[in-house]
């Protein structure tokens, strides 16, 4: 486990879950298992948590992976379903070119090796939202393998020190999404909507290189930003475009990996961190108390903040993978292997896609630091909020204030206002133009910093007044006249003398 995280778990374990526990209490718990631990000593070696992730990202495309029905979030039930999606006999899959390109883009952005020949397989299991009884996926040879993703973490809570970590990407594969089931427990039935059935997914499998909820959350956040920058997926977790399953286990240093559990039903990045941390804690406590960890699937209950075993578990699933007989291998080309006389539309050229990749978040951050002289932590915060970088650059263009100071105003004041009122940058009542105006007044020393904050609070009300109007109204101008200042100071001194 990385330096920052391993230490955290050692300390947390010694303290016990939820807060400091008296040393004596800890010693009793250890003694109960037979290990002689003199009171006052912390005793045993720390646990090493291991976290791997399986992320499903819905591909941003007009139509589905193997059929021509539309991809859209909210639509009348079963209105975006073709005969193939409903698994009616006699229908065949036809691969969508855009989905292939999205997967290749993502693979290249994550430093993967793109397999020029990849294969499709069937994964069989029964469920009401999987009408065919199998899902077409890429189990044997996926489209991309062996990549990596770098992400940043704050070591402390103050965002003043950032550390960069890397997680290995095992593979990226193309697969079909299933439909949606709505469980009606009162009438003991399930309602099935196949609008989502057949939508293209990219499954990104991350190796178990992470060791806590915070790392997992940071890695997923970075992946989300990458996908959104590429446009291969909109990756909005709330709309189910990004789904994360976590594989968690713990072991003692030097020993082999422990039994892992799979945690599902995680609906946001915050919950991901909570779920992973809870599961690590649960496993540690279970093992400390002499129990064992079952290789099971657990669901995260966001209300209770804990993981519970999932029902519907029929022991280890046997998916009976078999090659998809209706799809020949997917062949991709590069500049060297480009066939001379093939229809342009039938060719996916990896090099062509590589040349057109946009700047990834990490590159954008470095450029901001270089161009504006801001700190890496600041550029991280700017890119973390949708539209904030653009806002910042617009303000910088319209003001004489140094970017370093501008960024402080944006991150410390504007952003906190937005967060307090749950608004996005686009919805901000204070436009970049207004903020630039205000900062110019401050820069020209026409108002003080305190006054500027007051003006910002007024601007926030969105009443359409300009900063200058508010300053005049509230008489916040700094007195520039030296003589007047002298008179005031003299009056104060005289007042003191009189007492």
């Amino acid at each position: 486990a990385a330096r920052g995280c391993g230490g955290l778990w050692r300390r947390a374990w010694q303290r016990g879950a939820g807060g400091p526990a008296p040393r004596g209490q800890r010693a009793v718990a250890c003694n109960a298992r037979g290990g002689a631990v003199p009171a006052g000593k912390s005793g045993l070696a720390p646990w090493v948590p291991v976290v791997g992730l399986e992320i499903h990202a819905q591909i941003s495309s007009n139509s589905k992976l193997f059929s021509g029905s539309q991809v859209q979030f909210a639509a009348p039930p079963n209105s975006l379903v073709s005969f193939f999606d409903a698994s009616l006999p006699g229908t065949l899959p036809v691969l969508n070119r855009r989905c292939v390109e999205a997967a290749v883009m993502t693979g290249l952005a994550l430093n993967c090796i793109i397999n020029k020949k990849s294969l499709f397989d069937r994964k069989h299991y029964f469920y009401a939202d999987l009408p065919a009884g199998y899902q077409i996926t890429q189990q044997r040879v996926p489209i991309a393998v062996n990549g990596s993703l770098s992400y940043s973490l704050c070591i402390d809570n103050k965002m003043s020190q950032m550390v960069t970590k890397t997680v290995r990407i095992k593979q990226i594969q193309l697969e079909q999404d299933s439909g949606k089931s709505l469980h009606d427990d009162t009438r003991s039935q399930t309602l099935v909507d196949l609008n989502r059935a057949g939508v293209g997914l990219m499954e990104v499998v991350m190796e178990p290189d992470m060791c806590c909820g915070e790392e997992a959350a940071a890695a997923v956040r970075e992946l989300q930003l990458v996908l959104q920058t590429l446009g291969s997926s909109q990756a909005v977790m709330a709309e189910g475009q990004l789904r994360v399953d976590a594989n968690v286990s713990v072991h003692r240093p030097g020993e082999p990996y422990g039994v892992r559990t799979e945690v599902k039903n995680i609906n946001s990045i915050r919950f991901l961190a909570k779920a992973v941390d809870y599961e690590i804690q649960r496993q540690i406590e279970e093992l400390e108390n002499g129990g064992i960890i079952l290789n099971e699937t657990r669901a995260f209950d966001s209300k209770l903040g804990c993981t519970v075993p999932m029902r519907d578990k029929e022991g280890k699933q046997d998916y009976r993978f078999m090659p998809e007989p209706n799809l020949p291998p997917l062949i991709l080309y590069d500049a060297k292997s480009l066939p001379a006389n093939m229809n342009h539309q039938q060719v996916v050229n990896i090099d062509w896609i590589h040349e057109r990749l946009p700047d990834l978040p990490s590159v954008k951050r470095a450029k901001l630091v270089e161009q504006y002289g801001i700190l890496p932590e600041h550029s991280f915060a700017l890119l973390n909020e949708d539209g904030l970088t653009e806002f910042f650059e617009n303000v910088v263009k319209q003001t004489q204030m140094k970017p370093k100071k501008v960024v402080g105003w944006i991150l410390n004041y504007l952003l906190s206002y937005l967060k307090q009122h749950s608004l996005t940058v686009k919805e901000s009542p204070v436009s970049s133009f207004l903020l630039a105006d205000l900062l110019n007044l401050l820069e020209k020393k026409e108002i003080s910093s305190t006054a500027a904050k007051q003006v910002l609070a007024e601007l926030w009300k969105g009443e359409g007044k300009t900063p200058l109007e508010i300053v005049r109204e509230k008489k916040l101008e700094l007195i520039q006249d030296e003589k007047e200042l002298e008179q005031i100071c003299q009056a104060v001194i005289d007042g003191q003398e009189n007492e």
Binding site: S61, N62, S63, S67, G68, S69, Q70, P76, P77, N78, S79, L80, V81, S82, F83, F84, A86, L88, V94, L95, N96, R97, R98, C99, V100, L119, H124, F126, Y127, A128, S181, L182, H183, D184, D185, S188, Q189, T190, L191, V192, D193, L194, R311, D312, E314, D318, R320, F321, M322, P323, P325, L327, P328, P329, L330, I331, Q345, Q346, V348
Partner: protein, 160 residues
């Protein structure tokens, strides 16, 4: 179960490799078959496939659970047994150094479709297939109802 490993039915390599020519005729020779004969007309005489282990009850139960088939009676199990034996003949072909073939289409070009919306909007037609529907949703039983354990369900396998 050796025969049930994934890919057992695709072990034949290309080009076709020589197989023992020794055929044992099982029925009276007929000049030409107008249709598929009701019983195998010949089989390997010399090298019989080694006697098969019986398919165990655990495997049969596993299959019933996985594929939701019902072997129903001893004849059904026997048919399965014979099918495995029949397919095992493939093992006699020497496939050393030959890449398994997935399908006869593997040299074909995988057609790539343009990302246009061309289908959908046929809710009414699709729902005609549904036995039960609620407001344009298909209705299904609540979640997967797992097959009861072998001891608890009525199946011919219990007796074996």
């Amino acid at each position: 179960m050796r025969a049930l490993r994934a890919g057992w039915w695709l072990r034949a390599g290309r080009p076709p490799l020589p197989v023992s020519p020794a055929r044992v005729l099982l029925t009276a020779p007929v000049a030409s078959y107008a249709q598929v004969p009701p019983r195998p007309a010949w089989q390997h005489g010399e090298r019989r496939p080694p006697p098969q282990q019986k398919v165990t009850v655990e495997v049969l139960d596993h299959l019933e659970r996985l594929a939701l088939v019902d072997f129903r009676d001893a004849e059904g199990v026997e048919r399965l047994q014979k099918a495995i034996q029949f397919a095992d003949q493939l093992h006699e072909v020497n496939t050393d150094g030959v890449e398994p073939m997935d399908s006869v289409l593997e040299d074909r070009c995988l057609y790539l479709r343009e990302d246009d919306v061309t289908e959908g909007n046929c809710t009414k037609e699709l729902l005609k297939n549904a036995r039960e529907k609620v407001e344009e949703y298909f209705v299904a039983p609540p979640g997967n109802i797992p097959l009861p354990k072998l001891e608890e369900r009525e199946t011919f396998l219990q007796g074996s």
